[in-house]
Amino acid sequence: MEIQNAFMVFPWAVALILLPLASALSCFLFPRISRTLGLITSFGTVVSVVGLGWQLLEHGSYRHAVGGWGAPLGIELYADGLSLLMLATTALVGFAISVYSTTYFKPTLAVKFWPIWMCLLAALNALFLSADIFNLYVTLELLGLSAVALTALTGSKEALSGAMRYLLATLLASLAYLLGVALLYHNFGSVDIALLAKLIEASPAVWASLGLMAAGLMLKTALFPLHFWLPPAHGSAPAPVSAVLSALVIKASFYILLRLWFTLFEPLVDSEAINTILGVLGCVAIIWGSIQALRQTRLKLLIAYSTVAQIGYLFLVFPLSASMGSVAWNAVAYLIISHALAKSAMFLSAGNLLFFGGHDRIVDLDRVVQRLPLTATAFALAGVSIMGIPPSGGFIGKWLLLEAAMTQGRWDLVAVMIIGGLLAAAYIFKVIGYTFSPAEVSHEAQSVSASMQWSALLLAVGAILLGFLYVPILSILNISDTTIVSGVGL
């Protein structure tokens, strides 16, 4: 009974931030045991998320004033269903990536990887738990910098130039976001989202801050046409890093955008025009990203462009939220988590293929379906979810989005989604087709460790299983504090 009580009152949310942060420091100080530390920490975050989830299910949404100082003076942590879902996704994907990385990196790189990766994990968790726009800025900046550092990890020419572009983009984006925060703080004297939601009213300054913050976040999320930095960065980073970037990092900035949009800005402005613009950009991203993916000859770039396309789907929530709020909202939450699982699985299997054959040219995949069956399966299953074919999480998300579009008579969006799905099938099956056929010249292959194969496969299986977990996921998503996310029909 006492243990259960302790479990219920333990500040799991704080643990989610402090644990990886402490681990990052320790990894830096004791590089020899960094691998073990990192693995334990990743497991610890999974446990902490379970603990936090338990508390949320019992008591509804969660607020924690760090050090006993609440808003407006102190720092408050806040968690509701959406944050819990993001945290859980982060913990699961993060754990798989940690397992993968234990054998992926050579010792010289591993000592650099683990501290930064732990830092990034801390930043992600803190971001999903933040309740004010300034803290969000801090976590966003920390996230961006660790992500850039990880991208540049190998130090190859390709990686450095990709990381450089990424650095410039992310700094510019943070700056824009910070300016927006400053404007809001200047006008309303608070950075707490809940307080701001009560105080805010339309004015030119609010419009300017809206524009700045949204632009910054869109740049970080790599929405077309601000995606230019993504393919080189995601394509050249080490596989586990690409997986983190595509699965989690870009989702973090989208998460902030979603939160701010529906709590602060949407009630304020007649947003139809802006919604339309975001929707159009989303559509173009879907088509453009998919066509680019289809044109790639290298696997990692193909997957990176696929991410550009998949981000487009997320932005369709804006035009569709107007009258089909809850359905569109559920759809986008579902798409975020299934894409996180599927895309990380894909990048990890691409990493295996690269490790295995020493290259990632698609036409020379050389019978990997027979020689590396677990990895080929992981790629194929993840592909099913990305294409949105049942049974998979991607299908559920797409179905809900289609339903919302159809009910509102938005046939243009329906057409884009269907064409996007067909193009996705084209680029994914292009890869799968070549995994069956022999290459012209067969090369000696390196053996791939079991942990690398299984972590990719289990993530992919997770993406498929999401297709049957609608009810539990929905009940998590429904944990909310109605004052915070009103107006979206949660």
Binding site: R367, V369, Q370, P373, T377, V384, I389, P390, P391, I396, W399, L400, L402, E403, M406, T407, V414, I418, G421, L422, A425, F429, I432, G433, Y434, F436, S437, P438, F468, Y470, V471, L474
Partner: protein, 499 residues
């Protein structure tokens, strides 16, 4: 909790689980693989027999799991579902035996049998689906599970065939998806219901419903190989013979044809569809496909390709029977689902035997083959006469009911289609038989293998003999209670034209 609630799910799992285990088996574990396959097939057969008996007595079998808001994953064993499930189960068992013999010593067998089991799982799911979304789920799973079988050999030609196959089926799946979501946004339900669930829909939705019907049928027509959506099928012949047999007799084309039956009877309702005026175009397309497929079959020298075009033609009998919109024609269409399966799988088994034993792929190489392989060719002959529609083989029953039904529904033009098709069937099957039985033997066969004093391996010879015997029995013993025809009548009375 009721035991009966889980039987349909168990039927699906009985092939899914062995399939998943087989994927993990090492290549040389032949015995374990065979045991798993046969255990799964026999378990499925037992479960299906139980349900057949139960449904005959009026029991209800339904598994329901939540999938989406207001939409469940429903597996329900009604009479129509059981017809298709029984066919798949029996033919899976037979084809498994055949495939074990056929693939002896060839590489990648674990992969092959794994996907083979997935294929059957998907087919059974299609059959048992109790609403359109469950149907869609398994229909897409079928696409995914058959692709690796088509590209199984890993040649460039196979890869291209696989690409074409996907191009057709994924696009078809997308149309089906649009139609399904659209329908759901209008009706708020997708549950298969006897006589359909659309009769209460307001008239302002009728144009939308016509478009939905077109979307659904086009999506299904790809797999059912309705002209002009049939282009993938002759190319898919690249797959190993057991796959062709299964694809043509049970899995892919039948899933499409079965879907058409479901959409017409259990989504729209046949009277409602007739009222919308959507059945006549479907009948025309089906009739055109019947003639077109037969004509194209005439000009193929490759045996498997001739059979492929014959499939295109024959499967459309089912669509035609459905589109004629009368109880008797429906019986003809539905029963042809089984009859065509039995006959066509026999023909493909025989074609596979000729290729494996003597290296024969072309019809022009078949001179005198009846004397070298009398049993195989006897089975082939039964299949071929059945296709032509000669009594007393199963195919005659189908054509008889289709013709009678057409007259009954005052659509006498169908008689000409049937007669024309029978003539064409005779024109492309009889020359094969003439060559095989009456032409002199050549001096040597293209690539002959010897199997002691038998004409070919047991595992290859038994399956076609068994299916040929079943095709014969389905025609001879039509009045027995569990014959396909009697069951089709039961379906018609209980599901389609219930009082």
């Amino acid at each position: 909790m009721n035991w009966n609630d889980w039987v349909p799910l168990l039927v699906v799992i009985s092939s899914l689980l062995p399939g998943l285990i087989i994927f993990g088996l090492a290549e040389d574990k032949v015995r374990a693989r065979v045991m798993l396959n046969l255990f799964g097939a026999l378990a499925k057969l037992a479960l299906v027999s139980l349900m057949l008996w139960g449904v005959y007595q009026g029991y209800h079998y339904e598994t329901r799991l939540p999938l989406l808001p207001n939409l469940d994953l429903v597996l329900r064993a009604g009479p129509l579902a059981l017809l298709f499930v029984s066919l798949s189960t029996i033919l899976w068992l037979v084809t498994t035996v055949y495939a074990i013999g056929y693939l002896e010593n060839s590489p990648h067998r674990s992969r092959f049998f794994g996907f083979f089991s997935l294929c059957v799982t998907a087919t059974v799911g299609v059959a048992l689906a109790g609403n359109l979304i469950t149907f869609l789920l398994f229909y897409e799973l079928l696409t995914l599970a058959t692709y690796p079988l088509i590209v199984h050999r890993g040649t460039e030609e196979a890869r291209q065939a696989g690409k074409t196959y996907l191009r057709y089926t994924i696009s078809g799946g997308a149309l089906l998806l649009i139609g399904t979501v659209w329908l759901y946004s209008i009706t708020g339900t997708l549950e298969f219901t006897p006589k359909g669930f659309l009769s209460n829909i307001g008239e302002q939705h009728y144009p939308a419903l016509i478009s939905i019907f077109a979307l659904l049928i086009t999506g299904l027509g790809v797999k059912a190989a309705l002209v002009p959506l049939h282009g993938w099928l002759p190319l898919a012949m690249i797959a190993p013979a057991p796959v062709s047999a299964l694809l043509h007799a049970v899995a892919v084309v039948k899933a499409g044809a079965f879907g058409i039956i479901r959409v017409v009877y259990d989504v729209f309702g046949v009277e409602f569809s007739a009222g919308l005026g959507v059945l006549t175009p479907l009948a025309w397309v089906a009739a055109f496909t019947i003639i077109y497929g037969s004509v194209r079959a005439l000009f193929q020298d490759d045996l498997k390709r001739r059979l492929a075009y014959s499939t295109i033609s024959q499967v459309s009998y089912i669509a035609l029977g459905v589109a004629i919109a009368g109880p008797i024609a429906t019986i003809g269409g539905v029963v042809h689902l089984v009859h065509q399966g039995l006959m066509k799988i026999t023909l493909f088994f025989c074609a596979g035997n000729l290729a494996e034993t003597l290296g024969i792929h072309k019809i022009s190489e078949m001179n005198g083959v009846g004397r070298r392989m009398p049993w195989t060719m006897a089975a082939f002959t039964i299949g071929a006469f059945g296709m032509i529609g000669a009594p007393p083989i199963a195919g005659f029953i189908s054509k008889w009911y289709l013709g009678l039904g057409a007259l009954n529904a005052e659509q006498s033009w169908v008689i000409f289609v049937l007669a024309g098709s029978s003539l064409l069937n005779a024109a492309y099957f009889l020359p094969i038989l003439h060559r095989a039985w009456f032409m002199p033997l050549p001096e040597s066969w293209p690539n002959e293998h010897h199997f002691g004093n038998k004409e070919t391996a047991w595992a290859l010879l038994l399956p076609p003999l068994v299916t040929a015997a079943m095709a014969l029995a389905a025609g001879l013993l039509v009045t027995l209670p569990f014959s396909p025809l009697e069951w089709a009548k039961l379906i018609s009375v209980r599901e389609f034209y219930q009082p």
